[in-house]
């Protein structure tokens, strides 16, 4: 008996956003990454082909991130002391993008100086040809102090700069507009706030195709269902034609999972939890794949084995495209 598969025909779609610029385009990247363009819910291949497959970003830091799980530090070994070498290792591991995440503190107890931050960005740009996302710690003063000179010094690269948040977006958006960069807007797991921030940023004159949004999520077992619902709702609104929700989404399963006890702690936990590294990688992989199913266009990861597994999952999910 023939079965008619019910199909949705959505009036709206997610904006297509290109990260990075090659030398022809005013930057120095060896290639660019294009995300978004979705015309249906994720992987509904029978409705519309997936315009751009989800991409995997790897997170690095300007210096050894002391608060990271020992599992991660051991895995990456000595490259964590050199952001250029680290970025390069990520590229070799198969990353599509690099996320350079600055923390609240530099080498000492003070925030990193703007000139050191800028040189860290230049080091990474010199070491890898991948497009780059540069994120401050999410504290207005520090973010603005480092991101403005970084934006100036890397004009034309189409970096993604963040964090743009409800209380601090004007300076970063203005800098991005003046220097041909993109921005990342982050809101705390709330569809209304996510949309509001997009309205505020575009009100400044920034085109929608230069914004990526981070609706925030939780790790598996730590609120992922809330993040999942918010992403699903944003994606549905985008497909229904709500322009201010039609932005690609980038989320951080790496950050979220490697701070959970299951990933971070190796001793004094039940034996049934299994081997530490395997557990952490599983946690990160399962969280990331779930979020891709919810509509994430970019997942930011920390462990190279998770990168391989998430890549394999994306390949499987995309396999129908070629059948």
């Amino acid at each position: 008996m023939p079965i008619d598969i019910p199909m949705d025909n959505w009036p709206g779609s997610v904006k297509t956003v290109t990260l990075g610029a090659t030398s022809d385009q005013g930057g120095t990247r060896s290639s660019t990454v294009t995300i978004g363009g979705d015309q249906s819910l994720p992987f509904m291949h029978f409705e519309k082909p997936t315009a751009n497959r989800p991409v995997i970003a790897m997170e690095i830091a300007p210096a050894r991130p002391a608060e990271w799980s020992p599992v991660l530090l051991e895995t990456w070994s000595e490259v964590v002391d050199d952001p250029g070498a680290w970025a390069n290792a990520c590229e070799e591991a198969g990353a599509d993008l690099i996320v350079l995440q600055f923390g609240l503190k530099g080498a000492g107890d003070e925030p990193i100086a703007a000139d050191l931050a800028t040189s860290a960005v230049k080091t990474v740009l010199g070491a890898t040809g991948l497009p780059l996302v540069v994120l401050g710690p999410g504290q207005a003063e520090i973010d603005n102090a480092i991101l403005v000179p970084i934006a100036d010094e890397t004009k034309g690269e189409r970096l993604v700069l963040g964090l743009c948040e409800d209380g601090n977006y004007r300076t970063i958006v203005a800098s991005a507009m003046a220097n041909d960069h993109l921005v990342l807007g982050r809101t705390p797991m709330d569809v209304n706030l996510a949309k509001q921030l997009n309205i505020l940023m575009t009100d400044m004159g920034l085109p929608l195709d230069r914004i990526v949004m981070d609706p925030t999520t939780g790790a598996l077992g730590y609120g992922i269902e809330y993040g999942y619902s918010v992403m699903e709702r944003l994606r549905l609104a985008a497909l229904q034609g709500d322009a201010m929700t039609q932005l690609p989404m980038m989320v951080n399963p790496g950050f979220e999972t490697w701070k959970t006890k299951e990933s971070k702690v190796g001793e004094g936990v039940p034996e049934a939890w299994g081997e530490w590294t395997e557990r952490g990688v599983n946690w990160e992989t399962l969280t990331a794949v779930s979020l891709i199913e919810a509509g994430a266009n970019v997942v930011v990861l920390r462990h190279p084995d998770s990168l391989k597994r998430v890549r394999a999952a994306i390949d499987d999910l995309m396999a129908f495209e070629t059948v």
Binding site: D190, V191, N192, L193, K195, Q196, I199, L200, D203, R233, L234, A237, Q240, D242, A243, M244, T245
Partner: protein, 307 residues
């Protein structure tokens, strides 16, 4: 539209301060002003007053009754306080606001309403909270609220069911369902219970400058589904104008015509239509954008009118 004036509400800083000082003149002025503005009853929301209920509730009733003759709605979760207030009533049939479908509340509050011949506002809210869907809210009325009234021989004609308005800022999916709940509740019993909502709740946590617009557009939609009573702000002139336009079927202005068509579409169980909107008129565009968020078709954001 029967408006129960909402302005004596403990969340207001002025009300809080005046109550702390037992400033009778403040409450009498506010009561008179609301009645003069068209309120046909007054809600007195004093909060629980756990420590001084014995004195505060009768004081408030006495104070307000010295100034106005309209029914007073005692709005509190403190049943002892409500009872103390009811004992002080000397004028119109009072209202108890409110009871829910939670067992303990539903056991006790209707008995007090019956004892004092008060009307009773009953919320379609059970122990697991407020259901999103209209049907589930109506079911609470049919399965819990009305049966309890019959059980104690409380007249359904004195029952006021409140299917609960929630804010479009955060509970957007509830907004269209409430419209249907209001529609269905009118046919669940013969004689039908009255239906009332707290209209202004729809714009809680919305920036002040947009609250009135959201309230009056929702009011037009709810009038379409048959709403005839609400706790609302009687000082909101724009809202009263919408009520007048719909009640008098006054289509003499373009904006009035749009409000009327929104209400008529809802009444006909249709969705309000963009065909009725003159997109070259900024006021009509604002109304249309508001309809879309209230139907949960476009996600609400503080700056939704700028989109």
């Amino acid at each position: 539209m029967y408006i129960i004036g909402e302005n004596i509400h403990i969340i207001s800083e002025k009300v809080k301060a005046a109550l702390a000082e037992r400033d009778a003149g403040f409450f009498q002025k506010l009561a008179v002003a609301q009645v003069e503005a068209g309120a046909q009853a007054l809600d007195l929301n004093l909060g629980p007053r756990k420590k001084d209920w014995e004195e505060v509730f009768p004081w408030m009733v006495k104070t307000v009754e010295e100034a106005v003759d309209v029914p007073l709605s005692l709005d509190s979760t403190n049943l002892q306080g409500i009872e103390a207030g009811l004992q002080a009533i000397t004028k119109a049939q009072p209202i108890i606001n409110s009871v829910s479908a939670e067992d303990e509340r539903l056991e006790a509050v209707p008995l007090v309403a019956k004892k004092y011949n008060a009307k009773l506002v009953a919320l379609t809210m059970g122990k697991s909270g407020i259901p999103v869907s209209a049907d589930e809210r109506v079911n609470i009325a049919i399965e819990k609220l009305i049966p309890r009234m019959l059980e104690i021989d409380f007249p359904v004609s004195d029952l006021i069911i409140d299917p609960l308005v929630l804010t479009v800022s955060g509970c957007q999916e509830y907004a269209p369902e409430l419209i249907e709940a209001v529609r269905t509740l009118q046919v669940v019993w013969d004689p039908p219970p009255a239906i009332s909502v707290g209209l202004s709740n729809v714009s809680n946590a919305v920036p002040t400058k947009n609250r009135s617009l959201i309230n009056r557009v929702y009011c037009a939609m709810l009038m379409g589904s048959g709403l005839q009573m609400m706790i609302a702000d009687p000082f909101d002139e724009a809202q009263k104008e919408v009520i007048r336009v719909i009640e008098e079927r006054d289509d003499s202005t373009p904006v009035g015509k749009l409000y009327l068509s929104i209400s008529d579409r809802v009444a006909a169980m249709e969705e309000p239509s963009v065909d009725d909107v003159d997109m070259s008129d900024p006021e009509q565009v604002k109304i249309w954008k508001t309809v879309q968020i209230l139907l949960n078709q476009v996600i609400y954001a503080e700056s939704y009118l700028q989109q």
